[in-house]
């Protein structure tokens, strides 16, 4: 029973991290899935969100820290809003020189901005504490909930040990709830916008920019909105990560976990489909966790294990692209709400 509880607690941990990936994947789905914007600097927006939220809501610098700013101990929600805001502004700035050009320029520029952000995180110690990172980040309501839990456990000394172990980790359930709530909200937002006239313009741009422009749509401006909206979601994911992990440094946002795996997730799940984005995030996160079990059974040096796992994910991406480029779910056919209402009882909105 106790091992089962151990697994369950691990599963909660797994689901929180997977949920954060799902938010990143939903953000990328807005940019790439709906609009065709090729952002391979996800790690940059993710990192900026995490640092913004950590600096706004985290503790003030310690005596030994290099950092001299931040630590305003603002509420969790303010931190998250700040994370979304700063990531959005960053996306706006990067959009100005690139969104008028061919799509691959955006790809190059985003990879550049992610690298520049990584350099700033590493070198501007006054702001980011450099390689020592930001520590002791608070999780929302943790003190309150945990004190309630321990009071409850003290008043019930007759509980078996497994139940005790389960309840004492109760805070993670609460965090999981926050993450899933936000996934739900973002899912509804994504579904709503793709069915709106605005979402149809985005898809028109993805299919053929020239046609969208000829129809009188301000292509640049629509792309910009999509880029910023997606980046805000990525910033939000960063904030959620920071307050869950309680520690962030420049190494957290390496290209593999910040960017590449998110792309694999979205493509595996089905780009252009918000359900696919969420599904892909959990499936690939499970595959990634699963490869740990596989490589764990083969005797080899630690670095080989890590390299082999990333290699497998890379090969998986190529295989998906070759045999099922639309992903598990593929893109959903979306028609206007008006059209469905006119059509009668089979439309899902009537």
């Amino acid at each position: 029973m106790e091992t089962l509880v151990g697994y369950l607690n691990y599963f909660i941990f797994f689901a929180i991290q997977g949920g954060i990936f799902a938010i990143l994947s939903l953000g990328l789905n807005i940019q790439w899935g709906y609009t065709g914007l090729f952002n391979i600097g996800i790690a940059g927006f993710y990192a900026v969100g995490a640092y913004t939220s950590a600096l706004l809501s985290g503790p003030p610098p310690l005596a030994l820290d290099w950092r001299v700013v931040g630590g305003y101990q603002l509420p969790f929600v303010v931190g998250l809003i700040g994370a979304m805001g700063v990531s959005g502004i960053l996306a706006f700035l990067i959009g100005i020189p690139t969104l008028k050009l061919k799509e691959d320029y955006l790809a190059i520029a985003t990879i550049g901005i992610a690298e520049v952000i990584r350099l700033i995180l590493k070198n501007e110690a006054w702001l980011t504490n450099s390689v020592w990172g930001l520590k002791n980040l608070p999780s929302p309501l943790q003190g309150l909930i945990e004190s309630k839990i321990s009071l409850f456990l003290v008043s019930h000394p007759d509980f078996p040990r497994w139940l005790n172990a389960l309840i004492s980790k109760g805070y993670n359930w609460f965090y999981l709830f926050i993450v899933f709530l936000l996934i739900g909200v973002l899912y509804l937002v994504s579904e709503r916008i793709i069915r709106s006239p605005w979402g149809r313009v985005l898809r028109a741009i993805r299919e053929d920019e020239a046609v969208a422009a000829v129809s009188g749509k301000d292509v640049f401006w629509f792309k910009m909105q999509s880029l910023v909206l997606g980046a805000m979601m990525m910033g939000l994911a960063g904030g959620l990560y920071a307050h869950f992990a309680k520690f962030i440094d420049a190494m957290t946002f390496e290209p593999m976990f910040g960017t590449f795996i998110i792309w694999v997730m979205l493509i595996a799940g089905g780009s252009g489909n918000s359900r696919g984005a969420i599904l892909g995030a959990f499936v690939i996160w499970a595959v990634w966790t699963g490869t740990d079990f596989i490589t764990g059974h083969i005797q080899m040096a630690g670095y080989r294990e890590g390299a082999l796992r990333i290699l497998l994910i890379g090969l998986l991406l190529e295989v998906i692209l070759l045999i099922r480029p639309q992903g598990i779910l593929g893109e959903e056919k979306v028609v206007s709400k008006m059209y469905e209402e006119k059509r009668g009882p089979h439309g899902e909105n009537t």
Partner: protein, 304 residues
Amino acid sequence: MEFFGQFLQLTVYGLISGSIIALGAIGLSLTYGILNFANFSHGDVMALGAFLALALFRLTKNLGIPTHSFGPLSFGLPIVIALICSMGLTAIVAIFIDRILYRRFRESGPIVLLIASVGAAFVLRNIIQFIWSPLPSYYFREIQISKRFFGIRIKPDEIFILIFAAGAAYLLHLFLTRTKMGKAMRATSDNLELAKVTGIDTERVILWTWGIGAALAASGGVLAGIEDKFITPELGWHLLLYIFAAVILGGIGSPYGALLGGTIIGLSTEISTAFINTAYKPAVAFIIMVIMLLFRPTGLIRSK
């Protein structure tokens, strides 16, 4: 006067790193122009070249090749043999990747190719890491003393890098202007459909493009190893941003532009270290690229 001396010194360093960047950028620009996609695995092809050369170099130790160094250089025949064989091997690997991977996406459009290349980049980098570990590897460990010419410090190895890069660029120029395949390559880069109509075997051109691009990239990787004294699996990833900046600066598809762009990126990033933190060299390359995109996205040497 002191400032002028420092400026000259940084200019020399800039030319050295510029030639390494240019060797990577030429290959990237060629494949970008002909296949019309941004190959994000090109940096890792450079790293592959550097590591294949390391493996070949270690092999030569058992072959009885004279190991004494050439004159003032810190390496001898084994490194040169390893360098040339690695160029050939890397070219074969690149053509192989094209056959098994990129060729299948040729009809799917540039963005699918781009995604596939990001995947290939991670696969290549981690194969390298799997075999050779993420720790630095060394061709040789001797530390070379710089020589002074008119107050400028330069190592003999660095003179070799400059001469090699210039030689490679000149040979490429001869290839592109004097041979039938070279001309076909330029025609295909200008307009693939038109080249097909005129009877050019574009599949063969693509094959050559991968081969030449990868061979030059491999040499760039080896030279980076000679200059830095060590190689890591991240070598290509660290060069990637410089290479893309050079390609965009020069104009996509133009090998001459890539050469020029590489030199400018090398010079400006090195000279910037006189004013700002050395760690921000990639940021300087990035900013130059963004300025270029804002004001002249077609590049210095106008391409398509």
